[in-house]
């Protein structure tokens, strides 16, 4: 009896000991997600929030060094409200920020964070102004212009063709920015640009641009633009029986959902995108199924970026040795240093960062097959 009691006591002590140990090790990390969870851009803000929530649940369940407390603040995709959201997040004790979701608010909040020394990791704000002149903001997605260089790299690496036509909107910074880095990187990689034509926001007639590409024998037509003009270019090319590989960037995403659009025209179109929900990749499939179970919808790229964001923050925090007691100000410089050292294998690719805050990752491109995005 005594013996049994002793064993029991020992067991209890051991258990309480491990409990104390575990409690002592799990550091609570307070991360604030800021994004438009209401309003016109709510689609994107909810996607990043939900993506982050899936990752937080996984991290907390895995019982690693960190436990995450996720704070959510709504910026309504508004450059004034985002400052309120940012202040509210800091008042709630946030040590770092996952956000903001959209570019314009991110520029504003990031600049404020630069002054206050608060670390930002944005899943999806892609304009260059988001990271420009600020050392505290890091991106998970490619910046807009870098998509051009990434596209050239993809085309060269996968040997899709060497004769390339570029059609771009010269009245739009998004389009011209991507075109510039594409042409620069393309030259470096030995891609020959045989035709380069432009259009503006009012252009509806693309016959000249398409005919120029066709007559100069372009095998690939690079389309750094949104899907609306792209859909007209596809139709014009179909009428001319011109069938090159059309290669787009993230602005092309959405072409399949244009009402009335004949999706057979988009068959074989390729676009640079880090995430496709139908991918067979194990990590992606795991994320998609958890996301679907929790929110009853298929995650978009924004959700995948934010999911990776949580893992990136945890990895960087571990590298930097962030503790629960540290204030945001102290965390900021440690995180900045750590971000430049880590490599994260996420569902949107393997990522590293330099001091500018821009991400470097292997470009991936999806092809439209039977009206769906598919990775090769």
């Amino acid at each position: 009896m005594k013996k049994l009691f002793a064993v029991l006591m020992a067991a209890v002590m051991l258990m309480s000991c491990t409990a104390v140990l575990a409690e002592g090790e799990a550091v609570t990390l307070k991360i604030a997600h800021i994004g438009p969870t209401t309003g016109a851009a709510a689609l994107y803000g909810l996607a990043t929030l939900h993506g982050a929530e899936v990752a937080v649940e996984e991290v907390n369940a895995a019982g690693g060094k960190y436990k995450i407390e996720l704070i959510n603040e709504d910026d309504e995709h508004n450059v004034e409200k985002v400052i309120n959201a940012y202040n509210a997040a800091l008042d709630a004790g946030a040590q770092m920020i996952l956000g903001t979701t959209t570019s314009k608010p991110c520029e504003a909040a990031g600049a404020q964070g630069y002054v206050d020394r608060v670390f930002f990791l944005t899943p999806s704000a892609s304009s260059t102004a988001v990271t420009e002149d600020k050392d505290n903001v890091y991106q998970i997605c490619f910046s807009d212009p870098n998509q051009g260089a990434a596209s050239a790299q993809y085309i060269a690496e996968h040997k899709l063709g060497t004769k390339i036509a570029v059609i771009y909107n010269n009245a739009d910074v998004y389009s011209t920015g991507i075109r510039d880095t594409f042409v620069e990187k393309g030259k470096e990689l030995g891609l020959e640009i045989v035709s380069e034509t432009t259009f503006t926001d009012e252009t509806t007639d693309f016959t000249v641009q398409v005919a120029d590409a066709q007559n100069k024998g372009a095998e690939i037509v690079f389309l750094p633009m949104y899907y609306t003009p792209a859909s007209m270019i596809l139709q014009t090319a179909a009428a001319k029986e011109y069938k090159p590989i059309f290669f787009g960037v993230d602005g092309m995403d959405g072409i399949l959902s244009v009402e009335g659009f004949d999706t057979s025209l988009a068959e074989g179109v390729m676009l640079l995108t880090p995430f496709v929900a139908t991918s067979a990749d194990e990590k992606v499939a795991n994320f998609v199924s958890k996301y679907k179970a929790a929110y009853n919808e298929v995650p978009i790229q924004f959700a995948a970026d934010a999911y990776d964001g949580i893992y990136i923050l945890v990895e960087a925090a571990e590298k930097a040795g962030i503790t629960a007691e540290m204030e945001a100000e102290e965390v900021c410089d440690l995180m900045i240093a750590a971000m430049q050292e880590i490599t994260v294998d996420g569902i949107t690719g393997s990522m590293t960062w330099d001091a500018t805050g821009a991400v470097t990752k292997t470009p991936m491109a999806a092809t439209i097959v039977n009206g769906e995005y598919v990775f090769e």
Partner: protein, 292 residues
């Protein structure tokens, strides 16, 4: 070969401008006003045809007829509600009203159909391709050019042979005298709007068959270009609108193809300025002398 290809593209684009320009020129010739809402009536026509094809499952010809009917009613309503009360007002007031009407139509379309662009469905108009030697010509191009010719011949016959057409020309020449001769001026102007708007519906369908993106601002740029074409050819003249439209389309495409894609529009408007400097009344316009 490239030259021919560009020429055909230019004729096709020009034919669309020409059909739209007819609406401007007829209304100007008869009511002496610039109906800037005309481009937006085109947009409404295209949306109605889109709904017919996409939502109501109508055959293409029915969808076009419904669009024509709706646009006719719309055109006559706009004229009756917005322009008729201003018949005696200064021309500037009418012009501002027309611009206001244009914004009203665009914003109503935004409310009804939303800002997301829609893609105009493929119909018999643009579903096949004709091969001539190395050239591939879309059926939309051929149908547009043919429709243009048919409409011009029909309108010329209508204005020269029928009673209503003659009434139109009378009102155009001298509204006061026509009224004294027993011509119902208001009815004649309404009829002009009805014809112009029905043509706008056809233009809308043809425009969106060649350039399939449909959004609330779809009609505005082609509207401005067609207005330019009407002035180019001599505003008020039916053959002038035709000639102006076709020339404008060809110049635009050639300018883009052989000079610069960036300067396409600039070239079009530069040509307009030169023509107006040399022939202020436009290519086929009759110079009108003001008698004092």
């Amino acid at each position: 070969m490239i030259f021919l290809d560009n020429l055909i593209n230019g004729l096709s684009l020009g034919s669309i401008y020409a059909i739209i320009a007819l609406g401007y020129t007829m209304v100007y010739g008869i009511a002496k006003m610039l109906n800037f809402a005309h481009g937006d009536v085109i947009m409404v026509g295209a949306y109605i045809a889109f709904c017919g094809l996409q939502y109501w499952g109508l055959p293409p010809v029915m969808a076009i007829l419904v669009a024509m009917a709706v646009c006719t009613v719309l055109g006559v309503t706009i004229e009756g509600l917005a322009y008729r009360p201003l018949r005696q007002a200064a021309s500037l007031a009418v012009l501002i009203t027309a611009i206001g009407m244009s914004y009203l139509l665009q914003n109503l379309a935004l409310m009804i159909w939303g800002a997301n662009p829609k893609s105009f469905p493929r119909t018999f108009i643009n579903s096949s391709i004709l091969r001539v030697g190395e050239l591939s010509i879309s059926s939309a191009t051929i149908i547009t050019i043919l429709a243009n010719i048919v409409i011009m011949v029909a309108l010329t016959l209508f204005t020269s042979k029928t009673k209503m057409g003659k009434a139109m020309r009378c009102v155009s020449e001298d509204r006061g005298a026509a009224e004294l001769m027993g011509i119902n001026v208001n009815r004649t102007i309404s009829l002009t709007f009805a014809i112009g708007s029905a043509l706008a519906a056809i233009a809308g369908v043809l425009l969106c068959s060649s350039y399939p993106i449909l959004q609330p601002t779809t009609g505005s740029m082609p509207g401005i270009k067609a207005f330019t074409a009407a002035v180019f050819g001599g505003i008020g003249s039916i053959p002038g609108a035709m000639l102006g439209g076709v020339l404008l389309g060809v110049i635009e495409i050639f300018g883009k193809a052989y000079i610069s894609t960036e300067l396409g529009d600039a070239i079009v408007f530069a040509v307009l300025i030169v023509v107006l400097l040399v022939k202020p009344a436009g290519l086929l316009g009759k110079p009108v002398r003001e008698k004092v």
